[in-house]
């Protein structure tokens, strides 16, 4: 058992080295901008860059709309499948897994060919339409995570009883979903939302191929043209991802373990 512990420590230490060295190196590199001393100049340059602010703002907004779209699509479907159409579950689960099978670049390629200016649905003819298509594309990327998060949330509440109780009290479907179901799965929805945010904020492929002024293409552009700023941006991006994941962890502590007690 003693040697087992030694090996465990060794494996852990090697893993920790592999994962921390790039982070340390990136921090170090990002502070090298001023000759001969460490400084936060690269961060100042990046944060002060008008294009950083514009593209970051654009991507945050795109992420917010992606989350709203994802919730609007996923919550009613997941709820309805639990309540009335359990036979559709395998089909819906299969569809939500498709974005993991079909690479993002293929999905966006399909959009470009199908929704061009000359098509019946010319999303790409206008700027707003193209942005809408980007948000839609992001929602498909987020679909697997959003669906699983919401479905897990619904599993912990007694959907049928809550629905019937609300109906007895005279609530309509809109009221039931927005005022009974949604508040109960809010934590699950928020977890899905933060994961979506982490995925979407620096996304490159779709934004670049749709020519959107988003954060991902901006990052790529800086990477191709600057020396120290990319390292600073990598640290900022890591911090954002870390923030999203921490929020999910904190939220999960508030999630109900199981309200679905079998009598």
């Amino acid at each position: 058992m003693k040697s087992g512990k030694f090996w465990a420590w060794l494996v852990f230490a090697l893993g920790a080295a592999y994962f921390f060295i790039p982070l340390i190196a990136t921090v170090e590199f990002s502070m090298r901008m001023r000759r001969g001393e460490y400084s936060f100049d690269a961060y100042k340059v990046v944060l002060g860059d008008a294009r950083f602010q514009a593209t970051f703002g654009y991507s945050v907004l795109a992420a917010v709309f992606t989350i709203i779209l994802g919730v609007l699509i996923v919550v009613p479907a997941a709820y309805w499948i639990r309540l009335r159409l359990p036979q559709l579950r395998p089909i819906v689960e299969f569809i939500t897994l498709l974005p993991l099978v079909i690479p993002a670049i293929v999905i966006v390629f399909g959009y470009i060919r199908m929704y061009g200016s000359n098509s019946p649905l010319p999303f790409l003819a206008t700027d707003t339409g193209t942005t809408a298509l980007l948000v839609i594309g992001y929602a498909t990327l987020a679909l697997p995570y959003m669906y699983r998060a919401v479905d897990t949330g619904l599993r912990t509440i007694d959907v049928r009883t809550l629905t019937e109780a609300a109906q007895i009290l005279g609530a309509g479907w809109g009221t039931i979903i927005t005022r009974v179901i949604l508040p109960n799965v809010l934590i699950a929805v928020l977890s899905g939302a933060f994961l979506t945010f982490a995925i979407v904020i620096g996304e490159f492929t779709m934004a670049s191929l749709l020519n959107r002024p988003a954060f991902g293409p901006y990052l790529q552009n800086i990477g191709a043209n600057r020396a120290y700023e990319p390292a600073a941006l990598a640290i900022i991006a890591f911090a954002i991802t870390w923030g999203c994941m921490s929020l999910i962890q904190i939220l999960s502590r508030f999630a109900p373990r199981s309200a679905n007690r079998p009598n």
């Binding site: 465990a8 309805w80 499948i81 819906v92 293929v106 390629f109 990477g223 390292a231 990598a234």
Partner: protein, 281 residues
């Protein structure tokens, strides 16, 4: 009257999935079998056999395979170490948290991090050179190469493996170890005859998931190497942007090839998954 209300809740989901997931993919897949006049043809698929495209597929497959295998074994080792290695509890939870972050830390920023580490002026490169006298670039290493990209991909592959495989290892019941010990099994017999057969399907399934994960990725590779490393997603990216192959339908065929490869990978994944669930209930 009954049918519409019955389907109303799931209608937005299905309309969305058909319009923005299934139809665009089908469109490309059909386009791969059509010529400019819209007639059926196998020419586009046959044209995939040209050396530059075959080379692109081959290097993509090699990188995906190498990064998924390295990521899988390293991830498994770490998972076993933190679950069964008798390490303090906080290490387990810290590793899992970090894995959640690192598995989502991909794309362009990851490329930046590795350039800062193993690029020509990166910290690791410089320290290896000045402290250990080892100039890795003089020895043929280049971050803009097969191994450079593989090493970078491993950064999100290992944590993904950890996140997925830890529950499987947790699922190993304590009783099985005790039963094996009661029957006089040695530690190595217990591992060989109990642990590995039980973990094997979910391990293989995850390897395949990692493979598909790496195969479709483009942002990291593009930010790291520009278009100097000719992997399939980068080839397709260039084709979408500027029709570099001078044949629109050949682009469809490349996309079709990608779907076939990741699709096959996922068929195996689902197959292994159902096998592993038998044990890990």
């Amino acid at each position: 009257m009954r049918l519409p209300t019955q389907w109303l809740g799931v209608a937005p989901f299905f309309i969305f999935a058909i319009m923005f997931l299934i139809l665009p993919t089908l469109y490309l897949m059909l386009g791969a079998f059509q010529n400019d006049a819209g007639e059926f043809t196998l020419e586009n698929i046959a044209a995939l056999a040209q050396p530059s495209i075959v080379a692109a597929y081959w290097i993509s497959i090699k990188i995906s395979l190498a990064s998924s295998l390295i990521g899988a074994f390293a991830g498994l080792a770490i998972a076993i170490a933190i679950v069964r290695g008798g390490l303090p509890d906080w290490i387990r939870s810290a590793t899992l948290t970090f894995s959640g972050v690192a598995s989502n830390f991909a794309g362009v920023p990851l490329a930046f991090a590795f350039l800062a580490t193993l690029g020509r002026l990166g910290l690791a490169t410089v320290i290896l050179n000045t402290v250990f006298g080892l100039n890795i670039y003089a020895h043929g290493f280049n971050i803009l190469s097969f191994w450079g990209l593989t090493l970078t991909y491993v950064y999100f592959q290992i944590p993904l493996m950890v996140v997925i495989i830890v529950p499987a290892i947790d699922g190993l019941k304590k009783e099985w170890g005790e039963a094996a010990a009661t029957l006089g099994a040695t530690m190595s017999q217990y591992w060989r005859m109990v642990v590995i057969p039980v973990i094997w399907p979910s391990f293989l399934g995850t390897v395949i998931l990692l493979f598909a994960n790496a195969f479709g990725a483009i942002a990291t590779a593009y930010a790291l190497t520009g278009s100097s490393l000719n992997i399939v997603p980068i080839l397709l990216y260039a084709q979408i942007r500027g029709d570099v192959l001078h044949n629109a339908h050949l682009g469809y065929a490349i996309a079709f090839g990608m779907i076939v490869i990741t699709g096959l990978a996922n068929v195996f994944y689902i197959w292994f998954r159902t096998r592993s669930e038998r044990w890990l209930k």
